[in-house]
Amino acid sequence: MKKEQYSISKDNFEQCLKCTVCTVYCPVSSVNPLYPGPKQAGPDGERLRLKDKAFFDETLKMCLNCKRCEVACPSGVKIGDIIQRARMNYGPKKVKFRDMMLANTDFVGTMANLVAPVVNFTLGMKPVKMVMDKVMAIDHRRTFPKYSGIKFETWYKRNAAAAQGQYKNQVSYFHGCYVNYNFPKLGQDLVKVMNALGYGVNLLDKEKCCGVALMSNGLTAQAAKHAEQNMTAIRKSGMPVLTTSSTCTFTMRDEYPHLLNVDNADIRDNITLATRFIYRLIEDGKARIAFRKDYKARIAYQTACHMEKMGWKIYSISMLKMIPGVELVELDSTCCGIGGTYGFKKENYETSQKIGAPLFKQIEDSGVDFVATDCETCKWQIEMSTSKTVQNPISVLADAIDIEETIKLNK
C-alpha cells in the first residue's frame, strides 16, 4: 500500500510517528552532532516553520540530500524533500560565488574544456588549492575531477553519430555533465555496448545539466529552467532515455516533480539507468551478450545513495554478476560522504570524510581490484580517499564484453 495516496498533506510530514529511524540512518547525524538530524530538520522543523519562517535553521545546510532518511522511513514521509524544500523556500536568497561556480557544472565545464590541460594542472597545484580554500572556501584537501580536452558531445558528432542509423533499435542517451566535460570514455563505453546489443544511441536535442547541483546550492529558478528544457528534449526524442549517472536519473525522475514542480508523469518511466535497461533486455531474452573468456576481476560494488533511494542497485549488481570472470563483493550500503558538491565545501570537508571513513576501510580491507559504482561523485570520493580506482558498471561491461561475438548474437 502506498501511504502517500491517502494523504495530501504536503510531503506527508504528518505521517511521521517520531520513531526517529531516519536519524539513525542519517550519515551526517552519525558524525556531526551539530546537525539536528532528518527528523528534527524535516517533519519537526516543518511544523515550526509553518508557524513562523524565522524558525528556519541554518544547520539544514548540513543535509547532503542523500535521501537515506526517506529509504529508512516506515511511514513514507518525504523527509529529504521537506528539508530541501525548506532550504529553497526559507534559506538565504543570496548565493555565494563559490556555490555558483560549483553548481554551474554546464558553464564551468564548457569553459574548462577549452583550456583543460591548464585547468587540470592549475587545480592540482598546491598554491592554487590554498588560494581556493581561502578565497572560495573550497577545501584544499579535495582533489578535483580532471577536465577532458574534448567534450563527449564533440566526440559523438565526429566519431559516432553517423553510424547510429544502421541499428534496428534506437535509444537516447542523457550523458550528463560528468561524461561530457570530465570523462567522455564512459559515454563511449555506453555507445560501444549498446551498438553491440543492436541499439543505436542518440543524443537529446540540447541536453542541459540535470540541475541537482543548482538545487542544492539555492539556484532553484535556474534548475527549474533546466528541468523544463530537459523534459521537452526527452518528450521530443520519444525513445527510452538511458543514463549512466544515478543522481542525474533520480533528479530527473523524482526531484523535478517533488522539488521543482516540473511535471514529468508522462515520460518519467522512459528515463532509466543503462544498467537497468541492459539487465532487463538480457533477462527478457531481447538481447544476448558474449563475454571475453579472459576477463577476470574482483570488484566491490558501492551503492550510491540515490541508487539506494531508487531501489535499483539490484540491476547494476545483477548485471555485473552476469560477467563470468567477475567476483563481486557488495559493500555495506552507506554514504561515501561526498554528496555531490557538498564535500567540496570547506565547512563540510571534515563531515564528508568522517562519513566515508567506514566505507574507505571496508574497501581497503576487501582486497578487490577496483570498485564499481553508478555515481561519479562516489567515484571522486573513493579514488581520493582510498588506494582503489572506481569504474562505472557500464565501463566494466564494455571491458568484459566480446564485441564481435555479441554483435553476431544480436544480428
Partner: protein, 538 residues
C-alpha cells in the same frame, strides 16, 4: 495560626480570571492568596480555541459583549504581546449562507467599534490560501490567537512578583463563616493530604463552572449553566488567519491557528453538573467538527487530528435555552453582601477568556471598596512579565532558543542554556530543552508532568508525549527526588494524552498510540498500568 494565614483577599480558582484577579489585587497592595484545586488553566481557560476574539462573533447578537471583547483585544496586544499572535481573522460567507447577513454583520461590528473590511473572495484566497475556495464573501476583522496557558501563568507570575501567594493543588472544601461574613476558607492540599484554614477579609469566587459548588458551600446560589464545548486539535497549522463563518453563531464555525497547531470548534451541549469534571468528546461531536471544519478549510479533511478535548463554559443561567447560545457571555460580578446578605464574599463569573482582565478589574474594584483600598487599577497599562521587553523572534540562533522565546517572551532569557545538558531536547516536536523544563519546574508552580505541559507545550506536539514524557519524568525525579511519584505521574500523563487521542484514534493517530505503547509498556516497563489502559482504550 490565624495570624500567619491571614490575608486581605483569597481568590479561589487558577484560571485566567482567578490569576488575573490575584494579579490585580496584589498590584493594588492587597495581601493576596490564590487557591487552585488542581493546576492553573485546568478548567475552561485551558479548554477553548485560544481565540483572541475581536468580538465580531457576538456583534449581531450581543453588542455589549462585542464591545468588551474588542477593547480587551486591543489591550492584550499591548500588555500580553508574548501570548498573542496578531493574525487577523476572516468571516467567510459560503454559497449555502445568506450573503445578506454580511451587511448586518458589518453594521453591528461598526456599532460595537470593531474595524471591518469587506474583501473580495479572490483576495481572501490570497490572504489565507487554506480558506474554502467556494466562498462568496469575506470580511476581515481584528481576530487573533492567544495562548491561554501563557496568559494565565504570566498573570500568576506577576501576582507573585507583587507579593501574592499561589497555592496550586489546594481544593477549597469549605468556607468559614462568622456572623454572616465569610472570613476564610478551609482547603485540602492534594500534595500533602492535609487540610488547612486560610483567613481573609474578602474571598473572591473565581472558580468558573465550579464556582457553583463554591457558592453553595457558602449557602448561596449561583445558577450556573454547564455547556460543554468540544474541539479538535490538528497536527500543524493549516491556516494562518482565524477563519469564521459569517452567519449566526453555530457549531464548529471557528478555525484558529495557535502556536504549532490549529483548532476547530466548538460544539455546544448542556451537561449535568456531575459530569463537569470528566468531559469526554463523543463520536458524533467529532463527526460534526470534521464536517463543519472542512467547510472552512477543506485541507482539514486530510490533516492529521492530534486530539479532541472538551471544556465547560461557565455561563450563568438566565433562561431555559437548551443550547446555551442565546445566553449573554457578559460578565457577572456578584456582591453577595448586597445580593444574599453574606459579607466578605464575591463571585466573578460569566464572561470569556477575552474579558478575563476586565472581570478581574471588576472583582478587585469591589474587593477594594470593601477594604477601603483606593489604589488604581493598572492591569490595563502595565505589561505582563514576558511581554515587557523584546519578544521578537530572531532569524539567528538555535531552534529551541527561538521556540522558548516564542513561549516565554522576554523571560526566555532566564532559561538556562549553553551547556550540553541544558540544551538537550526533552520535547522534540515543540523544541523544549531540558533547560526550559528545569526553569519551569523551579519557577512556574510545577508539581506534575501535566503542569509542565501547560507551561512549556512539552507533550503537546505530534507524538503527544511519546518521546518526551519519559525524559521529562527523569528531570522530575531529579527535581523532586522521588522516582516512584514520577513513575505514577508518567503513567497518568500518558493516560491523559490517550484520553484526547481516543475519540479520534484512527490512521496515523492509532499508529502513534501503538508506537507509544511500545515505548511505555515495552521499553519503560509500565506494565502495571496495562489493565488500567486497556480498560480505558475500550
Amino acid at each position: 495560626m490565624k495570624g500567619i494565614n491571614q490575608y486581605d483577599v483569597i481568590v479561589i480558582g487558577g484560571g485566567a480570571t482567578g490569576a488575573g484577579t490575584a494579579r490585580d489585587c496584589a498590584k493594588r497592595g492587597l495581601k493576596t492568596l490564590l487557591l487552585e484545586r488542581f493546576d492553573f488553566t485546568n478548567g475552561a481557560t485551558g479548554r477553548n480555541h485560544g481565540l483572541l476574539h475581536s468580538g465580531a462573533r457576538y456583534a449581531v447578537t450581543d453588542g455589549e459583549s462585542a464591545r468588551e471583547c474588542i477593547e480587551e483585544n486591543m489591550l492584550l496586544r499591548k500588555i500580553a504581546s508574548h501570548c498573542v499572535e496578531e493574525t487577523d481573522g476572516l468571516f467567510i460567507t459560503l454559497p449555502e449562507d445568506d450573503i445578506a447577513y454580511q451587511s448586518e454583520f458589518v453594521e453591528a461590528c461598526t456599532a460595537a467599534g470593531i474595524k471591518t473590511e469587506i474583501i473580495d473572495p479572490q483576495d481572501a484566497k490570497v490572504l489565507e490560501p487554506s480558506v474554502n475556495p467556494a466562498l462568496i464573501g469575506a470580511v476581515r476583522v481584528p481576530d487573533g490567537a492567544v495562548d491561554p496557558f501563557r496568559l494565565t501563568v504570566a498573570n500568576a507570575v506577576d501576582a507573585r512578583l507583587h507579593g501574592a501567594e499561589l497555592l496550586t493543588y489546594h481544593e477549597v472544601t469549605g468556607l468559614i463563616i462568622e456572623n454572616g461574613i465569610v472570613v476564610g476558607v478551609e482547603a485540602f492540599s492534594h500534595k500533602t493530604k492535609e487540610t488547612h484554614r486560610y483567613y481573609a477579609y474578602v474571598t473572591i469566587n473565581a472558580a468558573g463552572i465550579w464556582g457553583h459548588n463554591v457558592a453553595s458551600k457558602a449557602g448561596v446560589t449561583v445558577n450556573m449553566f454547564p455547556a460543554k464545548g468540544s474541539l479538535l486539535v490538528f497536527g500543524h497549522r493549516v491556516n494562518n488567519m482565524v477563519i469564521n463563518r459569517c452567519r449566526k453563531p453555530a457549531n464548529a464555525d471557528i478555525l484558529v491557528p495557535g502556536d504549532t497547531i490549529c483548532v476547530i470548534g466548538t460544539t455546544s451541549t448542556r451537561v449535568p453538573f456531575e459530569e463537569v469534571d470528566d468531559m469526554r468528546v463523543t463520536r458524533e461531536e467529532v463527526d460534526e467538527l470534521m464536517r463543519e471544519g472542512e467547510m472552512l478549510a477543506p485541507a482539514l479533511a486530510t490533516t492529521r487530528i492530534l486530539r479532541a478535548y472538551a471544556g465547560v463554559r461557565p455561563l450563568v443561567a438566565a433562561d431555559n435555552d437548551p443550547s446555551g447560545r442565546s445566553i449573554s457571555r457578559g460578565i457577572v460580578c456578584l456582591d453577595h453582601e448586597k445580593r444574599d446578605g453574606l459579607g466578605g464574599f464575591i463571585t466573578i463569573t460569566g464572561g470569556k477568556l477575552m474579558t478575563y482582565r476586565l472581570m478581574a478589574e471588576w472583582a478587585t474594584d469591589l474587593a477594594c471598596r470593601k477594604l477601603g483600598n483606593t489604589a488604581e487599577c493598572r492591569t490595563a497599562i502595565d505589561c505582563l512579565p514576558g511581554s515587557d521587553g523584546n519578544t521578537e523572534i530572531s532569524n539567528e540562533g538555535k531552534t529551541a532558543v527561538k521556540a522558548a522565546k516564542y513561549r516565554h517572551g522576554s523571560f526566555a532569557d532566564k532559561i538556562p542554556a549553553g551547556d550540553r545538558i541544558a540544551d538537550s531536547l526533552v520535547c522534540e516536536c515543540e523544541s523544549v530543552t531540558a533547560g526550559e523544563i528545569n526553569y519551569a519546574i523551579d519557577h512556574l508552580n510545577v508539581n506534575k508532568l501535566v503542569n509542565l505541559r501547560r507551561r512549556t507545550r512539552m507533550g503537546m506536539g505530534t507524538c503527544q508525549g511519546g518521546l518526551c514524557a519519559c525524559r521529562a519524568a527523569g528531570l522530575m525525579v531529579k527535581a523532586h527526588n522521588c522516582a516512584e511519584k514520577a513513575k505514577t505521574d508518567m503513567a497518568d500523563f500518558i493516560q491523559e494524552r490517550w484520553k484526547g487521542m481516543n475519540p479520534i484514534a484512527w490512521g496515523d493517530t492509532m499508529n502513534e498510540a501503538q508506537f507509544m505503547s511500545w515505548i511505555y509498556e515495552g521499553v519503560c516497563g509500565l506494565n502495571t498500568d496495562v489493565n488500567h489502559k486497556t480498560k480505558d482504550m475500550q
